[in-house]
């Protein structure tokens, strides 16, 4: 993580949305991203993990330059894109491309594949000219996701932001697409910002993992340590709640009580304290800063006690 010049360095990134709550009422602020930092080296994969509303997709929107962050910096290949001019951002956009979750929605059904991308299936090494003239509805889900990946690669990006790229696919097709993504990374040296809620997929593809909860990073570090010894109570709960591919034979399902809090009205202090089995008084008043445990950064007041 102390790579001298990573491809992408995100520091203390924040993005707040102002939402109307109705006529004559004050607008509310959603802190969709609230101080997130990480590095991503060329040719490596960072997985962003978390449940709905944790800010995964907001993060993707900042990194892909779809939106301007409110605070913090995003340094891509030496350029701070958070504070860059529109012209610079436009010039840098080809470096970052995106693959979306639903290949049924992300391809325009009225355009031919040929139009969607001019030299498409050649990149994957399969398909002939006849396939260029087809429309998206003539392809299966897995094939569409390949087309979407091919389209993302058209401009030779150095970073691909993949927002749940295999969540809509079946297990057998999911394996094909994950293999393709890993092959492409090896051949082209692309870095992936891989957003997923599926921990077993993340465990397979990622090098580094960033676990988010309600707009904040709760744990960040190498995959190996996070999966072997999750340090944050939320990461532990997430791993315990994930169904395991083995009959339980009497083992209790690890379940976390409570609901995800509303991002409009997050709990004070540590956002996780209401669901946390280790919470103490301090957790409800003070926002925890990052603590280092081994190679992992953890945002928890009690990190050193409980590990």
């Amino acid at each position: 993580m102390s790579d001298p010049a990573p491809l992408l360095r995100v520091h203390d990134l924040a993005r707040h949305y102002h939402v109307s709550r109705g006529f004559m009422r004050k607008t509310a602020t959603v802190r969709a991203l609230d101080g997130v930092s990480f590095d991503l080296a060329t040719g490596s994969t960072l997985a962003v993990v978390g449940e709905s509303g944790c800010g995964k997709s907001t993060l993707a929107r900042q990194v892909t330059m779809i939106e301007h962050p409110d605070a913090g910096s995003i340094v891509l290949d030496g350029h701070d894109i958070a504070h860059a001019s529109a012209m610079t951002r436009r010039r840098l956009r080809p470096l970052v491309q995106m693959v979306f979750q639903n290949p049924y929605a992300s391809l325009n059904p009225r355009k031919r594949i040929e139009t969607l991308l001019t030299e498409p299936l050649r990149i994957q090494g399969d398909g002939d000219a006849a396939e260029h003239r087809r429309y998206p509805h003539m392809f299966s889900g897995g094939q569409r996701q390949r087309v979407a990946i091919a389209r993302a690669l058209m401009l030779h990006p150095r970073l691909v932001v993949a927002d749940e790229p295999v969540s809509a696919l079946d297990v057998s097709v999911q394996a094909q697409v994950l293999n393709l993504l890993m092959d492409l990374q090896q051949d082209l040296g692309i870095a992936y910002l891989f957003i997923s809620h599926n921990l077993s997929v993340v465990r397979h593809i990622a090098g580094t993992v960033l676990v988010m909860y309600l707009g904040r990073a709760v744990e960040y570090g190498p995959k190996r340590q996070i999966f072997a010894q999750p340090a944050h109570p939320y990461t532990r709960a997430l791993l315990a709640a994930t169904p395991v591919l083995a009959p339980r034979r009497g083992r209790e399902r690890g379940s976390l009580g409570g609901e995800l809090p509303s991002p409009l009205n997050p709990p004070s202090g540590c956002a996780f304290h209401k669901r946390c089995p280790f919470a103490v008084a301090r957790c409800s008043t003070e926002v925890p800063g990052p603590t280092r445990i081994g190679e992992v950064e953890v945002a928890c007041h009690r990190a050193s006690e409980i590990n």
């Binding site: 057998s172 097709v173 994950l178 921990l199």
Partner: protein, 341 residues
Amino acid sequence: MPLVEVEDLCVEFGPTSAPAIAVDHVSFALDEGEIVGLVGESGSGKSVTALALLGLIEFPGRVDAKRMTFAGHDLLHLSGAERRRLIGKDLAMIFQDPIASLDPCYTVGYQITEALAEHGSEAERRDGGARRLRAIELLEQVEIPDAAARLRAFPHQLSGGMAQRVMIATAIACNPRLLIADEPTTALDVTIQAQVLTLLERLAHERNMTLLLITHDLAVVAETAQRVLVMYAGQHVETGPVPDIFDAPRHPYTQALLAALPEHNLDRERLRAIPGHVPGAYDRPPACLLAPRCPYAVARCSAEAPAMHGPPGRASRCHFPLDDAGRPTHGWSAAERVAAT
């Protein structure tokens, strides 16, 4: 006697001359109080099987079966009135997207009491106050905090997990003997999924209710079900108790599906993907449906359709069912193998 018995269920859509086959001669039985997982990929006919069981396949869909019974009732030849007395009372179903399954225009309380007004006890059918009390009790059973206040909530005011709990409360309102849960946790976050699965398990156990859990997630089935039915392209390809299916699958499709999961490739760079894709309505292979994708396929597999065979409760639809070590048996020889396309 099993609670549900289905024999040779077929569901077709489209023209009779060239039908799209959704469910192809599926047979199974469900016992009272058991949790059975129905797994398969998209288009394998899981949901259509469940809908056919409830009589919800509408014209021009065609349902045919040798036998389809529920607690002695013949589901194939029910009159409309008989079906309405049964469905929603003894058979209930919950769906994947709870927010979409609830009516946005009515309160949670109204939607729960609606079923009680039709199928509830005599007091409940007569008296709105009794229905309200029962609705509160149901919301408490599905662990919704502050149940009385929630009765006035509209679906858009609920989170996904809460809405699925409301759906479950509605489904169990009339003490069904069979609950069909079609991907009940697919739209939920993983910590909420764990809560909902624990809840479903507890309810099935407490009420001796049969739960047919339809899902594409093998891990959910491994953790929740006692028995599994595996479907592929409309056919039932394997059945067995949970530990056996996961430890020693008999059908090559089950084996390949398990091998494709990232959990089973921890020390590997590449995942063992299944080549090709699930056959659709117009490219169904003539004999064994898996033959074009199967690593063990021989000439016989594309000439002769295999039947379900094997010991009771552990059958599979393969000419050469796999042994405990995962190798094909019944005289299979590697020399005759036809390369998978």
